[in-house]
Structure formats: structure tokens, C-alpha cells
Symmetry: C2
């Protein structure tokens, strides 16, 4: 569907990252340059903004703000966790989306998110096709979990990794300060894939990181955990453990479930967290020494002050690429990364993968990158992750504090 003339709309979806706004900046700056794009809309709270006709005219923004978006964490337009129904069962939302797209002559749809969001994008794309409405749909990947299928890695992952590795290196310095036994257990995000938790190994690679790393890819038992800890504790009296909030036993019971009631999000996924306290309690009972449970909580996904420049630049590029691809007539795809090694140096090429492929398929850490004991990762992982955390990107500082983008958000939807 080449030479489609019409408006474009961009939405942000799912849990925010440090660089989701960098992708937005990439989309907006590119879209505003394209002659076939007649209007550039930013949806408030993703798909919900489209359903509610709640979106902004991005041409009204100061372009300086797009530059600031590159270093502003979280989601400037607002995000959403909204699950579209199976259109074969209930196509109400899809018909509403079509109605809105027709009303505003929206011919380009860009959606930024992870697995669930790519599923949403895919379903909308297929419905529009079936309806015979010409609209080029491109997914823009994003997730600190790094679990999207069909791409070498995901925007957002590098920055979260850099947060995890840097903070663990600092915690290591702190944990070794007293001449007394101590166990530190650090909980890192990642529902079903251990990519982010594995980043803890980057700190160990630098000589000051955790002794043990547990990923959701390996069934977790408290007994094995205590036995692993005991071996190190006996030798040094100091143990640092990094583990994923997604770790579960062979029956699928999360560590966190052993200690607290879980709430569920709109996709039915358990809202995790609290597992650090559970493991800390077990370790305290077993070893009787000082034990500290630490959660990286929201900080790991919004720590823009320690973002990876590589990640920020790549996130921006995915936004640009999505627009260029759509305008060139491509639809029904997601922007993805392909790694190339040139003279031993990392190079990241952009490519496009079919939306159906990336939607809802989770990419986990390869079994061969996890050690035999199931409590650490191999050097292959270090080779993979290290290039992704390179370069220092932080917001401009004013009065010693970050200066974030502030959009005007001029309403363009008629409903508001």
C-alpha cells in the first residue's frame, strides 16, 4: 500500500522503560518530515486513547521537546495495559478503532510495546486488512524484559541492564564493608525471561557482582538456593544473590507466592515483587546472620540517569525506521534488530519481522548460556549483553537535577 496519504497515530503500551520516549521522538521527528503523512497524532494511554478519541497533535510541540524525550524516562503520552478481545468473539473495540481511523483518515499506525502490545498491534492490523481499510501498521519493540521474538534484543533492555549492573557493583562495595557475615538478595524484574536478571553477571564480570544468579528459565527450589548459598557462605561469609521475580518451582509456583498474596494485571499476569523478602527470611532462618532483601522495583525501568547511549540511539532509530517503512508501503511488521560483528565490533542493523511472528512468542535466555548448576550465566551472555550497555546517556541537569520533556499535549481528538 504505497503512497498512502493520511494521518499517523503513535501509541505507547505496557510497562514503561527509560527509552520508550526515545522511540516516540524517532517516530515524531520522522513523521513530521514525511510529505505523505498529513497529521501526526500521539495517543493518550495507547489504544485507550484511540478508542476514546483522546490524542494529541504532535506538530504543535516544540521540537526541542523531542530532543528531551530521548532522555526522559517512562511514557510521556501515557501507557496502558488493555487487552483487546479475540475479534472472532467480540469485535466491538476493533470496529471502534476502524471508525476512529476513518474519521481522522489515519493511514499509519505505530504501536510501541512488548509481547502483549505486539499481539494487540497484530490483531488490529489483521482486522483492518480484513475490513479492506488501507492502513500501514508497524510495531515498535520495547521491553526491559528483552523477551520479544525475532529481534536480537529490545530497546529498553540495554538501559535497564546498565542500571542493574551499575547498581549491583555499588551494592557489592557496600555489602563488603563490614567484617561480619552478610547475605544480600536482590530481586530483579522479568516475568518469564531472565535476560535482565542475567545482566547482574556484568557486575560480576567486573569483579564486583553477585555470586549466584537465578533465572526463571531454571526451576527454582529453596533447598537448592540454600545449599548454593551455604557453599559460598562457608568460604567467605559474604553472599550476594541476584534472582528474577519470575523464578518459580517445577510446579509453577512463584517465590513471591510463598510469602504474599498476588494481584493480577489486565492480562492475567501476576503482579510480582516481594520475593526478596521471602528469600531473605529463609536465608536468615538458615544462617542466622545479617540478611538484606533488596528490590530494584520501578528504579530499574525508569533510571534514565544511567541509561545506555547505545540503547537510546537504537530506540530512536526504531521509531524512525517504523515511519520510513510504513511510508514506503510496508505494513504488518515490527522493527527488529540484527547484530553484525564488523572487525570485532558490535553493529546493530535494523530489519523488519512479521508481526504474527513476534506477537506473544517469548524469547528466553538460551539453555546453553546458563551454567550447569543453574545458578549463573556463561561468558556467552557477557559477549551478548556488554555491547548493549555502552555509552553514557543522561538527561540535561538543571540545579543538579534531571530536566525532563514536558509536552503541551494539544488535544486533537474531538471527544475531549
Amino acid at each position: 500500500m504505497k503512497n498512502l496519504k493520511g494521518a499517523c497515530i503513535f501509541g505507547q503500551s505496557g510497562g514503561p522503560t527509560s527509552v520508550i520516549n526515545a522511540s516516540a521522538a524517532g517516530v515524531f521527528t520522522q513523521a513530521l518530515k514525511e510529505e505523505y503523512i498529513t497529521a501526526v497524532y500521539g495517543a493518550a494511554h495507547g489504544i485507550k486513547g484511540i478508542l476514546d478519541e483522546d490524542f494529541y497533535d504532535m506538530s504543535k510541540e516544540d521540537t526541542k521537546q523531542f530532543e528531551l524525550l530521548k532522555t526522559t524516562p517512562s511514557s510521556a503520552l501515557g501507557s496502558v495495559r488493555y487487552k483487546l478481545k479475540n475479534p472472532d468473539v467480540d469485535d466491538t473495540d476493533y470496529r471502534r478503532i476502524l471508525e476512529v481511523f476513518k474519521k481522522y483518515n489515519i493511514r499509519y499506525f505505530f504501536y510501541n510495546g512488548g509481547n502483549d502490545s505486539m499481539d494487540t498491534t497484530n490483531k488490529i492490523s489483521k482486522f483492518l486488512q480484513k475490513s479492506g481499510y488501507e492502513c500501514n501498521v508497524i510495531g515498535v519493540p520495547k521491553t526491559i524484559d528483552n523477551d520479544l521474538f525475532g529481534t536480537d534484543h529490545c530497546p529498553g533492555y540495554g538501559s535497564a541492564s546498565r542500571y542493574v549492573a551499575t547498581t549491583l557493583m555499588e551494592i557489592y562495595q557496600d555489602a563488603y564493608v563490614y567484617d561480619t557475615p552478610m547475605i544480600t538478595v536482590v530481586e530483579i524484574m522479568g516475568r518469564n525471561a531472565g535476560w535482565l536478571t542475567a545482566s547482574a553477571a556484568l557486575a560480576s564480570y567486573k569483579g564486583s557482582g553477585p555470586d549466584l544468579i537465578y533465572l526463571p528459565e531454571v526451576p527454582f527450589t529453596i533447598e537448592k538456593f540454600l545449599s548454593d548459598v551455604r557453599k559460598i557462605f562457608k568460604k567467605t561469609g559474604k553472599v550476594i544473590v541476584a534472582f528474577s521475580e519470575g523464578c518459580k518451582d517445577a510446579d509453577g509456583t512463584y517465590i513471591a507466592e510463598m510469602g504474599a498474596e498476588l494481584t493480577k494485571d489486565a492480562f492475567g499476569h501476576a503482579q510480582l515483587g516481594g520475593a526478596a523478602a521471602v528469600l531473605a527470611k529463609k536465608a536468615k532462618e538458615e544462617f542466622g546472620c545479617k540478611v538484606r532483601g533488596i528490590e530494584f522495583s520501578l528504579m530499574q525501568r525508569c533510571g534514565a540517569h544511567i541509561a545506555s547511549k547505545t540503547d537510546v540511539d537504537e530506540a530512536f532509530a526504531t521509531g524512525q525506521k517504523a515511519v520510513k517503512a510504513a511510508v514506503s508501503g510496508i505494513t504488518d511488521h515490527m522493527v527488529a534488530f540484527e547484530r553484525e560483528t564488523v572487525d570485532g565490533n558490535y553493529k546493530c542493523n535494523l530489519k523488519l519481522v512479521n508481526l504474527s511472528l513476534s506477537a506473544n512468542t517469548e524469547k528466553t535466555v538460551p539453555a546453553e548460556w546458563i551454567n550447569e548448576e543453574g545458578n549463573f550465566v556463561t561468558d556467552e551472555f557477557i559477549k551478548y549483553a556488554l555491547p548493549l550497555i555502552q555509552g553514557d546517556s543522561h538527561p540535561p541537569y538543571v540545579d543538579g537535577l534531571p530536566y525532563f520533556a514536558k509536552l503541551k499535549k494539544v488535544q486533537a481528538g474531538k471527544n475531549k
Copy 2:
């Protein structure tokens, strides 16, 4: 006691900070220049290293490492929480210290720490005087709690403040991302003084910080907390709360005590933490919405990657000043800061205060800097704190990760 010729020893004590090593660098670089100082020792784990004759010859270190110490968090020599007995009851430790000082002709003693450490320094100083042993003793202040008496502020506080304010600004971005109600409660360190928690107001001053701030200076009740939250929740559906781990009710019961057993450190102080979970649970029960409890845990005191340059420079200067003062014949004092405003600009002058004054006297946030409702701080606090977080100091990055000092630690104590 001018023109004393002999060795000097420096020790680090209490909870580490991002800049305690910067003070060490100040002491070492200055001491190595002084002709009256014949040897420069660094005690392993503070006073414990002196008792055990476990200390390092700092002249054997590469001076490049002293430069790296400025941006290396935590305590490079190792710290300690060891309470000296009242010398009138049991002077064993004091006699041992005197013995070690005599053995190595230690004539200069520098001790870096907070209230408890200044008490230790004071007791040693007085014992040495009483024993007729000539030794110039100078305390070097340090605490993220900022509660040392006799000084405008303390090294370590500015960097921890910058971590708290920056991270809260990021969390604010994240917490506002969904169009659904949410309450976020953030627990910040500070046992009896709310200085660090008050720093959360710097984020609010920048337009993206907490709505409510609770300090230990004001008796805390769950009822008042819930009523404060309700007022904001009704209006916006979003509430961010910053509160001190040291908050307690009128009877002295800590919030954390309402939820978990507390362990105590060597000084008999309760090891706090876990209060965020208690408040999050209460808020969840009351409002039924999504609630997130976050602890800044160790990160707030070791986040050297976001340290304040002002703080790092001042910490270094206190170390230098301690040495210069001691060599000039001064003893029994602590280095302190005096603020001067020159043409509207912040200027920090160094001074000396009597050790007896600063030991064990806690400086809390003035009542007039806390609002009438007891749930926020006034602009006076902003004026006070803002100059302390200025300037960006981070470790050199290698492979995208911090590069920390690594001391050789050549043993100089005969016991090892």
C-alpha cells in the same frame, strides 16, 4: 601540641556513603605531603583495625588510586560498628589503643564517621590526654543522615539527597504512566532525623515529586497518614508518599515494628527497613487500588554514579583540613562546615568544632521547616538543600560500567 613528629592513622566507621572514600583521599594525599608525618596508615575496619594491629601502609598505594577513591562508593578500608565501653567502667580497649599508638609512634589520629564514631573519637581523645600521650585527634564528619551537631551539613548527605531527588523524579514519571489509580510509598533512610527524607521535596520542587513527606521529627499515625492520602487520592487518584524509616508514633513505635521483627546493631539501634511494606498494605486495605512499596535500601547511600560534585569536593576538603589542623597542633576537634552566602551564591567554609560538642548530639530538621500539617517541608528546606546536590560526579566508565579504586592494602600492622 605543635610540631609533633610521628605516624598518622585514619579509619572509616559506621554506615558507608558515596563520598567517605573522598575524605580518605583527602586525608591520604595531604598526610603524605606533611614532613611531620612519618608514616600514613589506613586502619582496616576502623577502630577494630587499630585494636587488631591490622592496618595498611598508604604510601605504598598508587596515587592514581586516591583520585579513583573520590568516585568509589562505600568504604575502601572497611568500616565497623564497634562501641567502645565507658572508659571509667572498662578501659581495656583504650589501653590497647594506647599500646598500639605507642608501638607505631602514632601521633595523629583521624576518624571518619557519624554521631557514634565521633563519640568513639572523643572518648579516645580524652583517654589519650588523660594518659599524657601526645596525639592530635581530629574527627572527619560523614553521614547521609546529616544529623551531626555543629556543622551546617555533613559529607555524604548531598550525594544521598541527589540520589533520592533524582530517583523520585524518575519514579514520578513512572507512577503517572497509567490512567488508573495508584499509590506509591517510598521508604528513605534516617533513624532519628528526617534530613534525607526531606530531600524528596527537591523532586517536588521540580514539579515531579511526592505529595506527602513524613519525617521522624513529627509523631506518625497510620490514621493521619490514611487521611492525608485520602485527600489527594480523591482529587487525582495518584499519590506518592516519601517517608522516613525512622517515623514512629507518639509512644516511639516504629512503623516497621508494626510489620516485622527488628534486629539491633552493636549500638543497640534497631535495624530498620520494611516499613514501606507495612504502609503499602494499610493503603491497599483502605483504598483497594494498586499500591507499590519501594525501599531505596543500600542504593541511596552507595549511588556514586549520581553523586553530587559539591559533596565529593567538600568530603575531600574535610580530609585535607583534618590533616592540616592536626599538623598545626590542633586536637580534640571535628572538621565542620559553615555556610556563607556570597552575592547570593552558596559558599562552604571549613571550621573546627569541639569533639565533645558533636559527639552523640543529633541535629534534627528544625520544626519551622516542617509544614503545619506535618506532612511536607517548607521552602526554607529547599534553599538549604539545593546547593548541596549541585554538580555531576560519577566514576570513570570502562565498558559502560563504573571503574572503582582498588587498593593494594600493603599490611603495616605487625599482627598480620
